[in-house]
Subunit: 522 residues, 2 copies
């Protein structure tokens, strides 16, 4: 909404929010309510279980919810041809002017926690149909750090009543830094970690001892996928143990259980704060600083139980953000060579990893910009959209109040993209959801094209701010301790966390999702 | 609130609601919002898992939520002595002036669906601690009819694509009436029903072939406990199959799955309608007719996910409603002789059962009025309250805006009750929650004493009206079919259901929770 204001009015508005905190809170509330209010509130009538409303579609959360009902669209082009829309031409990598590689690292870490499409296990005879289901808790609960279940959480915990150990997650010290323990003992997963979800890519990992021996015992099966995500999880592991130590010292009569649970309350809320105040502000094209103000949700009509949608699981596949090569320390490696490999992270250490990711531009999120190594995932995403019988790109534009395209030029002005779209679809209203999302022209000041951005905003706020820890009768000092509350208040950015959780802090390096020197274009 | 009005004003208000539907809806909305608004909205910070706020206390619904945090109260009297407060003196049965035995039958059927305290299985070595957990879906979902899980639902369904069989639940015809199939084949549970929860009282049932051979294969493990509850479930079984037939005929192209799911949508909403419009109106001391208007919840601040509390599981134990003896047809039997026995129901048939229950007064809900056969359950309820370390009766009065007692006389004016309370507790503010609930003096026009009534109202409305089938984007004809919508609209009472589901209808008998000739005392 505020992006429709003329530059002078927007500048004045920004200035006013900087001067008057009460006005800032009001603008923040309006902006969030408008962002979520573009479409209907939950509960969604439909899920992937039935094509009509049923008790299962309303309650069985093993199936993904859906924004629009299933629709059969005949005569769709071959998926391999659609994947061409995503293919990055050799040497044709386009880099973002705004985002560093810290941005996709955070996005991946965040969404791997709750967008948890079930992956077919072909050796167990599971079909592609399984992708209509999920293993999500439907909450921002830092499951990559803490696990999805109580049993997993227990396996990850130190569970010690000794002083200096209460409330801690298991960890090891390597070269003076704290890391999660390793998952494997030689060729086998350690017995203590048998209840964890085995890592995605297990076959590849177990076939390569150099990878396998550095896989961390993490709560999330996707958290070892690339070293950037391991890096994020390591940061929150250290922060958890730091907070637990702080709480233990402030409450020497509390047992391991209470220290752990309270530290987790603090770290989850801290993470939500970063989601809104660092990550969403990075995405937002409007330079008004959005805040994770819990009170915005307390009376909001959109305060309804979360349920991850099948559309959300697709629109968050941001593979084109991945550059062809990535620099870790002094080595620059093709990205496919970093899959499941924690060595670059362990070698350089945590602070160096954050600094490196913050010093490199990410790819532009859009068409014809996906690295070859990730093109197979794009194709499987197109198949998943068809499996879920998603309605068209045009129908989803209409759903969130954006104009559906009447001409192909309403989607993109790029001649190459237009040529591909015209070759694939007889008319713009038949463009599929997934390719449509990524074909759109970019808009200024934001890494996300319009439909993705609009749909991300709906779920970003309505999921993050309805977290039970932020609810009206839970959001209080008792839940977090005074020390925990102060730690939450004192945390605005990942840089704050790195500074206090790396030996020697960030070492003067800039740690940010936004590139150095980037300026808002008015 | 309206009970504070003088009689003339209340009479005028009632008259106005009868004349002006729009005004009636407004008064209904205000009454419901005020009833729920006496205490804080969910999410509850605490559950029985921890004594402090934790991610588990906010998300692990296997534990029961709690309205007030755990509190240690030292020096409580022996539970056997507290149980004396409940003991009905020989020949001292007090009968209700308002309620028939249909009222507790409905109450038990309703609450067995979602107040599902886990019962310790001593042969499996489970301790009393297990009572802090539950097996509830936390929704009004007619689980006694449909089962708790998808697998159970499938076992109960006919699953046939043949015409005239689509969408149906399994049933059998005995003496010209439709009943659920029997659970046992000789001494063993039939294989097709192995996934059902075995019936509570399984040991007693299996030791008595006369009982065992008439146990129905129901979705709920408590649904065979007494013939009144079997009677309720049989009524909804027949209604489900009737609605399924109607939908099948209107939509001959729909498969078994869709007919079943849509019929279930209709029957659940019909049941919720009866909960509010027959059952709650029977309880309410104010003669304004309350309505199950889904729109009341859509913007309500209390529209938050349901979670059954440990307090709710205790305050709904209405054993004193049970008279010493109960008449089924021409036989009058002590109530303990009816446990797990479906014979009286099968012999007289469904309509006769409803007529009989409607023709007998129920006991007064209050102290010194529990039949001997049920006194053991009262004592285990007292123990459960202590296991959950519930706060005092006085603290719960304060929680919902009622005056905490300053003298024992503020609880009861009955000299026998006062003598017992004084013998048990040093002061009125130390009276425990469970005995306090039932010790209270009755108030006019309602079967429930004040604290129970106030707490029931909070959860009755906030649970029933937040059912996902009534939610803003689901409550529409598509969800139920036009025929289903008409069936919902055409149903106001159990009598309506009996009339269309018993051969020959109700046969002219009166079917009601309120006694014939009862009049509101102004």
């Amino acid at each position: 909404m505020f992006d429709l204001l003329p530059a002078w009015a927007l500048k004045a508005l920004v200035r006013l929010t900087e001067i008057f905190p009460g006005f800032h809170r009001l603008v923040n509330r309006i902006a969030i309510n408008r962002s979520v209010g573009v479409t209907r509130t939950r509960p969604h009538p439909w899920s992937t279980v039935h094509d009509y409303v049923s008790w299962d579609s309303l309650t069985d959360m093993r199936y993904s919810a859906r924004h629009l009902p299933a629709r059969n669209i005949p005569g769709q082009p071959e998926t391999a041809r659609v994947a061409d829309l995503f293919r990055r031409p050799a040497g044709g990598q386009r880099l973002s002017a705004k985002s560093t590689c810290l941005f996709p690292a955070f996005a991946q870490y965040l969404t791997d926690g709750f967008i948890r499409t079930r992956m077919p296990n072909s050796s167990a005879g599971e079909s592609e149909e399984i992708r209509l289901q999920n293993t999500s808790n439907h909450q921002i609960d830092l499951s990559p750090l803490y696990g999805r279940t109580r049993e997993q959480t227990r396996a990850l915990r130190l569970m010690s009543e000794a002083k200096g150990e209460r409330g801690r997650l298991k960890s090891q010290v390597l070269a003076g830094e704290e890391w999660a323990p390793f998952l494997y003992d030689g060729p086998a997963i350690r017995a203590e970690f048998a209840v964890l979800d085995p890592p995605l890519g297990r076959d590849k990992i177990e076939a390569a001892p150099a990878l396998r021996d550095r896989i961390f015992a993490f709560g999330g099966d996707r958290a070892n996928s690339v070293p950037q995500v391991s890096m994020m999880n390591t940061l929150f592991l250290r922060e958890h143990n730091r907070i637990a130590g702080m709480i233990e010292r402030a409450h020497p009569d509390w047992d391991d259980e209470r220290v752990f649970q309270t530290a987790r309350n603090v770290v989850i809320v801290m993470f939500i704060k970063l989601v809104v105040e660092e990550y969403i502000n990075h995405i937002s094209p409007v330079p008004i600083r959005l805040m994770a103000d819990p009170r915005v949700a307390w009376r909001a009509p959109w305060n309804r139980p979360n349920w991850i949608t099948t559309e959300f699981s697709l629109l968050y596949r941001w593979h084109s953000l991945m550059p062809d090569e990535i620099r870790w320390g002094t080595r620059t490696v093709p990205i496919h060579a970093t899959f499941f490999d924690n060595a670059p992270l362990l070698e350089g250490g945590l602070a160096r990893g954050f600094a490196d990711m913050s010093a490199q531009a990410t790819g532009v999120l859009g068409p014809r910009n996906t690295a070859d190594a990730l093109l197979g995932i794009e194709e499987s995403s197109i198949r998943q959209g068809r499996l879920a019988r998603l309605d068209t790109y045009a129908a989803y534009r209409a759903l969130v109040g954006l104009k559906p395209p009447r001409r192909f030029e309403d989607i993109s002005t790029d001649p190459d993209v237009l040529r591909i779209l015209r070759g694939l679809y007889p008319s713009p209203d038949l463009v599929e959801f997934y390719p449509g999302l990524f074909a759109e022209d970019p808009t200024p000041n934001t890494p996300l094209p319009p439909l993705i951005r609009t749909m991300v905003a709906v779920d970003a706020f309505s999921q993050a701010l309805t977290n039970p820890l932020l609810s009206e009768h839970v959001w209080r000092a008792e839940t977090f301790t005074a020390e925990g509350m102060a730690a939450i208040e004192g945390t605005a950015t990942l840089a704050d966390l790195v500074a206090r959780n790396a030996p020697g802090g960030a070492g003067g390096a800039r740690i940010a999702m936004t590139q150095e020197g980037w300026e808002h274009s008015w």
